[in-house]
């Protein structure tokens, strides 16, 4: 028998190794399993007319029953369902949309995306690195978007290199099934995302104290008034100078929703943060349907002190009002 030359043997072995590695990784790779938020939305899929995807402002600020009742009262029945996660923003929105739009929605007409948490932001804060949620949106498609994001942003070269390596690590982990096959061990791992406590920096009691403190940290009336004044002032400036933000981000979401056969709507929730709607930048393009609730002059009832909760969120009373206002806007859009 003839001896195989060493370099040929080496490359054959390497190829065999790499093919098996990639194939196994591909088998291990799964899309994120449906969590409770998705399950709740899918349960309503057969009668849902409006699907709203957004952060905690939607999670705590939108009551689907109130929305439906208001639409009914206006003589235009509409059912809303929501997929809302704390701090949902950036690429994760696109990931969630992709996942949601794969399913059948027989009665769906509008898909609304809440962009209150900085539209084009990656949502790639160091504190959240390697958490399952962040790992899972690192698909190859995401990397092209991430590349474009960094190309336009000005970062220190060293920091940029670090971020790029981190993104690649996340993508590799995602495709290699880390965090998924790792869930075989879910039962034996700590599942609570209490980073400080996990690192042993905080005791469970301390974590609890911090949480409680955060819940109590509602603004004083004076703080609230100051924030509203600032926002009114900002909005006036926006109107006078025709300020508008980059519309790149919603423009990327828009075709996804259109392609699935639904009408895209973007919205800003009533938060104190001055937000600039990206609606005027590219007049040649079709205008985006944008609902800007972050405007105390247009929606004064959403900015009275008695409807505000903690950390820029509405309280229960505010959420009822917001749900009604949302219903009215969607009835208006649907009646066009």
């Amino acid at each position: 028998m003839t001896e195989i030359p060493a370099p040929v043997r080496f490359f054959r072995c390497l190829l065999g190794y790499l093919l098996a590695l990639v194939a196994t990784a591909a088998v291990l790779y799964r899309l994120r399993p449906d969590d409770d938020d998705f399950k709740a939305a899918f349960a309503e899929a057969s009668r849902c007319n409006v699907l709203i995807v957004g952060p905690s402002y939607i999670k705590v600020g939108l009551y689907p029953d109130v929305f439906a009742a208001e639409a009914q009262a206006l003589g235009h029945p509409l059912h809303v369902c929501k997929v809302a996660r704390s701090a949902l923003r950036g690429y994760e929105v696109m990931y969630d949309l992709e996942h949601l739009l794969e399913r059948p929605w027989p009665k769906l007409r509008f898909v609304a995306v809440d962009l209150s948490l900085s539209a084009g932001n990656l949502g790639f804060d160091r504190d959240n690195w390697f958490t399952p949620r962040v790992v899972e949106w690192h698909t190859w498609e995401a990397l092209t978007w991430v590349y474009r994001y960094y190309r336009d942003e000005k970062y220190d070269r060293k920091e940029l290199a670090r971020l790029e390596v981190a993104h690649l690590q996340h993508a590799a982990m995602n495709y290699l099934g880390v965090g998924r096959i790792g869930r075989l061990l879910t039962g034996v791992r700590l599942t609570e995302h209490l980073t400080g406590a996990e690192r042993g920096e905080q005791t469970p009691k301390e974590v609890d104290r911090v949480r409680r403190k955060a819940k109590l940290a509602a603004p004083s009336e004076a703080e609230h008034d100051a924030a509203v004044r600032k926002l009114v002032h900002f909005k006036a400036k926006v109107r006078d100078k025709k300020l508008s933000a980059d519309d790149d981000w919603p423009r990327q979401l828009e075709p996804m929703i259109h392609a699935a056969g639904f009408q895209p709507v973007f919205l800003y929730s009533p938060v104190y943060d001055p937000l600039t709607p990206p609606r005027l930048k590219r007049p040649r393009k079709r205008a985006l349907a944008f609902l800007d609730f972050d405007d105390p002059e247009r929606y004064p009832t959403l900015y009275t002190y008695d409807v505000r909760g903690r950390t820029s969120h509405l309280n229960q009373r505010g959420a009822v009002l917001y749900s009604k206002l949302l219903a009215r806007e969607f009835v208006r859009l649907d009646s066009r």
Binding site: A6, C13, L14, Q169, L190, E192, G200, E201, P204
Partner: protein, 468 residues
């Protein structure tokens, strides 16, 4: 740089490729030395100077010892080497500990002491490379080893990156002869090396790092966890430290083997020991044999009667404990192991063990040994003696939502059983794996790698023994 980090894989691919592409042993050794310094300097380049200093001083001492027969000069030379190595170790590792302990003692006696306390950064692996170079000069002093005349060879021996920061503590008599033989890629047992690395990776990244996140909160605040959580955490820590350290060693052995070098075996399934004496013959073998050869035997060893031997044993173990770090927990750990060794020695002196004990006796011996080792490691892991006291005897806290899941018990059992099977049938498994056809071995390794990566937690924890 940690073996499990992606940067290491890039670093090693480059080192390996260039090492075997270069022609001439001198060029290869120079490359290996440069790579070793880069590996160490990646952590903190300022401390590369320490390795260079140890290398130059001990190389010179070795040469001078080889040139003189004068007893006093030889004494002075070995003293200089020991002073330099122990001085470095003492300053970087123990200065703060001794100063603060002295201040605490004086304060407790009613004196007000104000001594400047320096915050000294501990260079990674200092305990390993100083012990390694000390063993060389002592061997030359004892005339058990010829002095190394080639500075490059000696520098590679001290700085060889696979074992530089966490051992095994390589003896010059084992390593230097390898440097005089040219490395040939065809002689490298690639499969054995890759298997060693893969097994080490599994132990470190998939087992030890996953355990770390589960038990760190319990060791940080033991009083807030109930007895079950603490017992489970103690067991898990024993698994973690074994997997962390032996995993590192396996990866070091595999990495060295890929470059054509053999390092000493450091672990032989220590948790299957049926006595503490046997445990120390299987745990961190390179340290225990070092302590035996350079401390226990010079102290008198077994000579001079039972009580002298006991004293020597206790002193050796206390210093062995202190070697791990500047903390009373390490000293207590060493003391407890020393105590167990002394008790074992007396016991076997009175009642020599049967050559073929029954299964029940062996089982009981194993259980007792394992429980003792786990208890000692629990103290070893705690931040200080006070916390260790809380952990072992503290009040039972309210069950916490952060407690490690009881499923870990099942994981320990499965891992233990797998370890036992592999240990018992090591030779057969090795023959099967190393003898498998290429088309089967490498794709299987690829599949295994994907699983290993999938079980790796996002944030790699540093090796526990880096701090020693």
């Amino acid at each position: 740089m940690i073996f499990t980090q992606p940067i290491f894989f890039a670093f090693f691919a480059l080192t390996f490729g260039v090492h075997f592409a270069l022609r001439g042993e001198r060029a290869r050794k120079l490359w290996l030395l440069a790579a070793s310094y880069v590996f160490y300097g990646y952590w903190d380049y300022r401390f590369v100077g320490l390795i260079v200093l140890c290398t130059l001083v001990d190389y010179s001492v070795g040469l001078l010892l080889g040139r003189t027969e004068d007893k006093r000069r030889r004494h002075a030379l070995i003293a200089a080497s020991l002073c330099m190595n122990l001085g470095l170790l003492g300053f970087f590792k123990y200065y703060g500990f001794f100063v603060s302990s002295a201040v605490d003692l004086l304060t407790s006696l009613g004196f007000h002491a104000s001594v400047p306390v320096l915050k000294v950064v501990l260079p990674a692996g200092i305990s390993f490379f100083t012990f390694q170079t000390m063993s060389y000069t002592i061997d030359v002093y004892r005339r058990q080893l010829e002095p190394q005349r080639n500075l490059l060879d000696f520098a590679v021996f001290v700085g060889f990156f696979p074992q530089l920061v966490s051992g095994p503590i390589v003896r010059a008599s084992q390593f230097l002869p390898q440097l005089s033989v040219p490395r040939v890629l065809a002689n490298v047992n690639v499969r054995r090396a890759l298997l060693l690395f893969a097994v080490g990776y599994f132990k470190k990244a998939c087992v030890a790092d996953n355990i770390a996140s589960a038990i760190d909160p319990v060791f940080a605040h033991p009083s807030q966890f109930d007895g079950v959580a603490r017992t489970l955490s103690a067991l898990l820590y024993s698994v973690q430290i074994y997997c962390d350290f032996s995993g590192y060693t396996d990866m070091a052995l595999g990495t060295a083997a890929l470059l054509g070098y053999e390092l000493a075996v450091n672990f032989e399934a220590p948790y299957f020991s049926t006595s503490v004496r046997e445990f120390w013959q299987r745990w961190h073998i390179s340290l225990s044999t070092w302590l035996r050869d350079y401390l226990y035997i010079p102290l008198g060893g077994n000579r001079g009667g039972r009580w002298y031997a006991a004293r020597n044993l206790m002193l050796t173990m206390l210093l062995g404990g202190l070697w791990h770090g500047a903390n009373w927990t390490f000293i207590l750990w060493g003391f407890l192991h020393g105590l167990a060794l002394v008790v074992h020695r007396f016991w076997t002196g009175f009642r020599p063990s049967s050559p073929s004990p029954s299964l029940a006796v062996r089982g009981l011996c194993w259980l007792g040994t394992f429980a003792w080792v786990v208890m000692c490691f629990t103290i070893f892991r705690c931040e200080n003696i006070h916390v260790a006291g809380q952990f072992l005897a503290g009040r039972t806290g309210e069950p916490s939502g952060l407690s490690p899941s009881l499923d870990w018990f099942a994981v320990i059992l499965v891992l233990g059983a797998a370890h036992w099977v592999i240990f018992r049938h090591k030779a057969l498994l090795k023959a099967r794996l190393e003898g498998a056809a290429d088309w089967l071995f490498y794709p299987a390794l690829g599949v295994a790698s994907a699983f290993l990566l999938s079980l790796t937690p996002g944030k790699a924890a540093p090796f526990i023994y880096f701090q020693f």
